[in-house]
């Protein structure tokens, strides 16, 4: 906050410090939110640009990280909505015979021919966790990322996402149950589940 007040008063060096302090955090949260590193970096730069342009309006009583991630959340939401609209325009006809499985299910299917008791390596686990997070809806994902990686309280997350603390409590609860359902077979034994115990393709995440 002190840094942001210095930025508000026109100190260029303070702005550089802000960028260095928050850039990695922003890029990582945005990457997991939008699912693309390049886009996450573009959005991060846009966040800093908006912070600079709005510097004179920064209020002392506002927590800087909440303000910062509110801007990030809005930009990410806009980006995801644009992507969704483009996807709707570019719809490909579905092959009725092919599976409509989610990416996570495809990973499971691809490995079903391998030895069922194979130990997962770190990279695989990371992919699985990333996919599981990607399967959450946008709001659940943002709440999870802010809680896990920014250590924000429910009140701060609520302010960032313009929701009530009770709504955040409900969002995080559903998100964590969804994640547990997906990841439980993996951490039970640190192994990929056997093919015959594979997940149901049509199971729906709780919204």
């Amino acid at each position: 906050m002190r840094l942001m007040l210095q930025v508000r008063d026109g100190e260029a060096a303070a702005f550089e410090q802000l960028v260095l302090r928050y850039q990695t955090r922003l890029v990582n949260v945005l990457e997991h939110l939008v699912g693309n590193r390049d886009q996450a970096e573009d959005l991060t730069q846009e966040v800093f640009l908006r912070v600079y342009r709005a510097r004179k309006h920064y209020r002392v009583e506002a927590k800087f990280s909440t303000w910062l991630f509110t801007i990030a959340n809005n930009l990410a939401s806009n980006a995801l909505r644009s992507r969704q609209r483009r996807r709707e325009v570019n719809l490909q006809p579905r092959d009725s015979g092919a599976t409509s499985a989610r990416p996570l299910d495809l990973i499971i299917q691809a490995s079903s021919g391998q030895m069922p008791a194979r130990q997962l390596d770190k990279a695989e686990m990371r992919d699985i966790v990333r996919m599981a997070v990607g399967e959450l809806n946008e709001r659940q994902r943002m709440a999870v990322l802010l809680s896990k990686f920014e250590g924000m309280s429910y009140a701060d997350i609520a302010e960032t996402m313009d929701l009530s603390p009770q709504a955040i409590k409900s969002l995080l609860s559903r998100a964590r149950v969804n994640l547990r359902e997906v990841l439980e077979p993996y951490f039970q034994h640190g192994r990929r589940p056997a093919a015959e115990n594979g997940r149901n393709e049509t199971s729906d995440f709780r919204e």
């Binding site: 260029a12 702005f15 550089e16 960028v19 260095l20 850039q23 990695t24 890029v27 990582n28 990457e31 997991h32 970096e41 991060t44 730069q45 800093f48 640009l49 600079y52 342009r53 770190k122 686990m125 990371r126 966790v129 990333r130 997070v133 999870v144 809680s147 896990k148 990686f149 309280s153 429910y154 409590k169 409900s170 995080l172 609860s173 964590r176 149950v177 994640l179 547990r180 990841l183 439980e184 993996y186 951490f187 039970q188």
Partner: protein, 168 residues
Amino acid sequence: MSDQAANADPSVEQQLVAYLDGELDAEASRQIEELLATDPRLREHLQCLDHTWELLSELDTSQVAEQFTHSTLEMVTSAAVEEAEHGRREAPRRRRRNWLLAGGGLAAAAVAGFLAVALLRPDPNRQLLRDLPVLEKLDQYREIDDLGFLRALRDEVLFAEEQSDGKQ
């Protein structure tokens, strides 16, 4: 391992997650702890939730490249330069606008002042109009010293043909 009881009750689920996140007050925490102490399935469920949460640490949290920082600062510097240029271009216009506003404000104040004085200052002509009936008969009234005497004359209705409106 699935805990149907906990899954079926969203409020318990929410309380468990909030408990893990340290968001419950003392009383709510105590209630959850009591539940956990008596229900092994709930304890197992809590452990699963916690373990899942820990797995999120597997997600990438890589540092950004130095080049990214440079390009971010360059971008913001360009925006700052553009802002300064815009401000310089706008300055004469702003000054003119400020002068016009000041002039307009002064004119408005002058008009308001004039109107206030005109409305609030006593009008000597109005005073004269009010006193006209007296002035018309001033010579006669000068002959009588006592106002009470005039009132008495009025009450005696000696001059009944003269009504208050002067009609005969």
